[in-house]
Amino acid sequence: MAQLAETYACVPSTERGRGILISGDPKSNSILYCNGRSVIIRYLDRPLEVQVYGEHGYPATVARFSPNGEWIASADVSGTVRIWGTRNEFVLKKEFRVLSGRIDDLQWSPDCQRIVASGEGKGTSFVHGSKFITVSSDKKGILYDAKTGDIIGELSSEDGHKGSIYAISWSPDSKLVLTVSADKSAKVWEISEDNIGKVKKTLTCPGSGGVDDMLVGCLWQNDHIVTVSLGGTIFLYSAGDLDKAPLLLSGHMKNINSLAVLKNDPKVILSSSYDGLIVKWVQGIGYYGKLDRKVISQIKCLAAVEEEIVSSGFDNKVWRHSLQGDQCGDAECIDIGNQPKDLSLALLSPNIALVSVETGVVILDGSKVVSTINLGFTVTACAIAPNGTEAIVGGQDGKLHVYSITGDTLKEEAVLEKHRGAITVIRYSPDVSMFASADANREAVVWDSASREVKLKNMLYHTARINCLAWSPDSSMVATGSLDTCVIIYEVDKPASNRITIKGAHLGGVYGLAFADERNVVSSGEDACIRVWTVTPQ
């Protein structure tokens, strides 16, 4: 039995030069935003509880609660609007194709009977009561009378925004207005009797000041002011106390392709996505900060131990970053001459790393290339034993080659043939007595390290390629994650048919897996979310 314990949600998808729309429901104190094809519902007072609606076939653009809070209408780039219930497992009420192109915004009528949707626009507007304001890339905000449409005033340009204004939100009492802009600040305006808006307070985004700090979305709900930056960080301010520092919520925007658990105190879960972002999470708290690597590069493979992180991307380089407490220290870059396909660290002596490339492997010691060995077959995955004396290399043909390592040479000890597809991942168990391998043909196998005999077979319950594999700290369980969105946990002493299956763990596929402890499995996937599951063996 596996139960969802925590979800570390993704952040809204953002695009440079375009605002995003976030909406919310004052009654349940929740906010709604879109990431990829999913609509995310987050509860502001319970940030670890997240609900995801994944029924759109195309990237979702906007979602809004109905005024009575019972329904949500969401729209996507294909012009389709779906109306679904907030309770009862998101049952679909209606779906229709409204426009032939991207829908930029939609609104409910106050009686919940009608919805208006608009597409492809350059400005945004917000209707509230008897007045409405439009804001635009010309840095101005204009007030209109909602009934006649006449221009009745504008936001003062004194102390105004210095960049395009991307979004606007009225306060619940209709006296104040919040705007966010590309100039990386949010401003609260007071609308006076003669309809001129004067800046009451400017909230600057606490960040490094780069492009990622441009603010693209905002929402004023009850006492909360929410602003969203281009980098995906959500800032929660208290409307009653604008001087108080905001609460930061962040996460990943793109596919999280690897997870590592560090045994520090508190136990930190590190996640990396292919856009090069590494985020720290702590169970029970959630977002714990980003790791600033001082190097902007994409990440394909990541391996981490307490003192350092080794990563590789889509170029020929392997990066080693030392970890000092919470932050990244200096980075060393090693050019290995070929694109790395898989990366493994010898856990007991982490300066030794094994990197697999197209036709062979490279052994690294610190930042030195010890040797580059051409193995004569197309290599896919690799793993090095914690003490650095043995390595297992998997090939495109499904064969596992076991080598003993002496200095800079490899001697082939055995070739194991059981898999019927390219090997995707190989992992040693923490006690090194076993190793597990998985392939693109949905099968996983557990082997005994000493005898190299099959220990657990018939682990064939996935319906698509296995992307990742993790061992429990006591070496009793193996978890596999696949493109079919499921995570399956097997107990090594029991037959494979006794497995525990978590269906639909991540929309789009599971790409990262790790055990936080004996009973908790952490998984990450294409939906940019991380979920912690509590497992109770039967």
Partner: protein, 132 residues
């Protein structure tokens, strides 16, 4: 491909007298007929049955599955399983596939048929779902 008389009578004993939990048949190439390879007593479990099937060779099997329905009735259904693992030799798969119809016709009273190409396709959950 013929069917040995012993195969037919063994099946009848399973069906009518419930003498066996399962019967495993194999094709004897020399005699060109389907013969009984192994039988299991009613006390044996589904695990014993799956363990008796070879990992990389084809077989035919009949399994008597007992279960309790949602209305609390004790029921029993007979499953015919064509075991044809993808790792077995192509010749074996061809032989068993072409002879299956001829053999199947001799077995009257089979409720469900399953073709399994790996152990997950004849998992107990699959059997249970088909029966309900």
């Amino acid at each position: 491909m013929g069917v040995a008389d012993h195969s037919k009578t063994t099946y009848m004993e399973l069906q009518q007298k419930k003498v066996y939990r399962y019967v495993i048949f194999k094709i004897d190439e020399k005699k060109k007929e389907v013969v009984v390879e192994k039988t299991g007593s009613p006390a044996e479990s589904y695990e014993d049955f799956t363990a008796s099937l070879p990992e990389n060779d084809c077989r035919y099997a009949v399994y008597d599955f007992d279960y309790v329905t949602s209305e609390n009735c004790q029921k029993s259904k007979i499953f015919f399983i064509a075991w044809s693992p993808s790792i077995s030799r192509i010749r074996a798969k061809m032989l068993y596939a072409t002879s299956k119809e001829r053999f199947r016709r001799e077995l009257q009273g089979v409720h469900y048929e399953i073709q399994a190409t790996d152990p997950t396709e004849m998992d107990l959950d699959v059997i249970r779902e088909r029966a309900n």
